[in-house]
Symmetry: C2
Subunit: 276 residues, 2 copies
């Protein structure tokens, strides 16, 4: 999906919601345990109940890898269940030397190789340009580069100052030479709303993937105040607050209610910003 | 495997060789294609032919993930084939917010969850302490943190100066407060031998995992000049130069010859340093 198509989906659905599919077996509604693959059933029912309210799904690979081969199979089947009109994000935070990153790119982008073809993959910037560039050789596929993450540990290195720039600012400035805003997004945590004005100065046109709304405590309106751009430019992720909204047989309905509340808030924001 | 046990293996085998198991289907000897899982057969024969000459094996997860569920199954079965006396490294370069890194730790360390239990996993430092610490809660399991990698892109951020330290130096200094040298190693590329003296000043007791000897052009003797410490302190990785030493039915013998040449060079180095 390219940038214009993504913006059109946002306008059509009046939403820039991304739903994080990060399921833990122990937290699943008990009635799902009778299925051969309870996590797949959980994901399918969540997708069926919410896909008109969100523009993106973001499974975090850790939650699948933790179950080994079984989990990887669940990830593939979850990808197969995504409707065609959603933007799909493999939240994998990969990155390695060039020939190895090319393997990761195949893993997430080349269906013939891995049976999956996400629209995008999250990548860690630490190893630099040649660790990122192999992901950029796929048409209409995206790199979502970690910039300023939502966790406490983001203070350890990301905000350290060097040459008048913090590390995360260097990451944005330097990597913007590797790809245009048609192929590069940045991860910026919702827990840092005070940084969005600065980030928009460095990356005016890029989409930002914003985790941290919901369970991690970030505020949607604070993010949007400086985060919105002329094509919306935001994918705001919520995971736990939606997928665990209910714990009974009506879990998918409860998830839909939670997603709907966020979609409605987003519709107001998009309307006020004259983007729809 | 703990640090003392690792040093004992190095002394017993007179080797600090790590073999990178990074197989690409197209590069495999043609006669292996008749097997149901050619990559598994390739790995098994390589392991059988070299395990007395090396102290560690390091499969890079990218080369398995690229083949989806099949590839993940090959990784599990490769892990199951490792002899008990080798140190095993999941070269995965993971790292995420705390609760997610805990999932990755289960994926690589908890056999009950994922059918694999490596001794160690490589981790990217960008997301800071809480992205690393979940891996440290497993006894006798190791984090191998990316410090100064072997690729061209290491210049983009790792060697940027801030507060009188380069980023990779900050990574070592800061992370050495998170775990002792009993649980923390660092990745330092063999292509940067001039940095080893400096790195040993910052991390005198830690093992260093050193990729880049062989196909990437790094020199073993240059690495050892300043890299050795009182418990050897080095695991030097070679992958392509060993695993693709031959392309015929005798590929495993050719791999053994290549591994033997490195082991013999290492034995001389260990002897000269009075470590054996």
């Amino acid at each position: 999906m390219n940038k214009q198509q993504l913006f059109e989906q946002i306008q059509r659905k009046k939403s820039f919601l991304c739903i994080g599919l990060d399921p833990v077996l122990d937290k699943l509604p008990k009635h799902l345990l009778k299925y051969e693959d309870p996590i797949l059933e959980f994901n399918k029912q969540l997708i069926d109940a919410t896909h008109d309210l969100c523009v993106a799904y973001k499974p975090n690979t850790a939650f699948y890898e933790t179950r080994g081969v079984k989990g990887w199979s669940t990830l593939v089947k979850t990808w197969q269940h995504f409707p065609k009109d959603v933007f799909t994000i493999a939240d994998a935070k990969r990155g390695d030397i060039g020939n190895t990153s090319a393997m990761y790119a195949e893993a997430f982008f080349n269906e013939a190789s891995s049976e999956m073809s996400f629209d995008s993959v999250t990548v860690a910037p630490y190893m630099g340009r040649d660790s990122v560039s192999p992901f950029l050789s796929y048409e209409d596929k995206w790199v979502i580069l970690l910039a300023l993450t939502s966790n406490e540990g983001s203070k350890d290195f990301q905000t350290k100052q060097s040459d008048d720039q913090k590390l995360y600012e260097q990451v944005i400035t330097t990597s913007s030479q590797w790809a245009s805003s048609e192929q590069m997004m940045y991860v910026v945590g919702a827990t840092k709303p005070e940084e969005f004005q600065n980030i928009r100065r460095l990356a005016p046109d890029n989409f930002l993937l914003v985790p941290g709304v919901g369970a991690q405590g970030g505020s949607l309106s604070a993010v949007c105040e400086h985060g919105l751009n002329l094509q919306c430019g935001l994918l705001v992720n919520a995971a736990r607050s939606i997928i665990y909204a209910g714990s009974g047989e009506d879990f998918a309905e409860k998830a839909r209610e939670e997603a709907l509340a966020l979609q409605q808030e987003m519709e107001q924001i998009l309307t006020a910003a004259q983007l729809i």
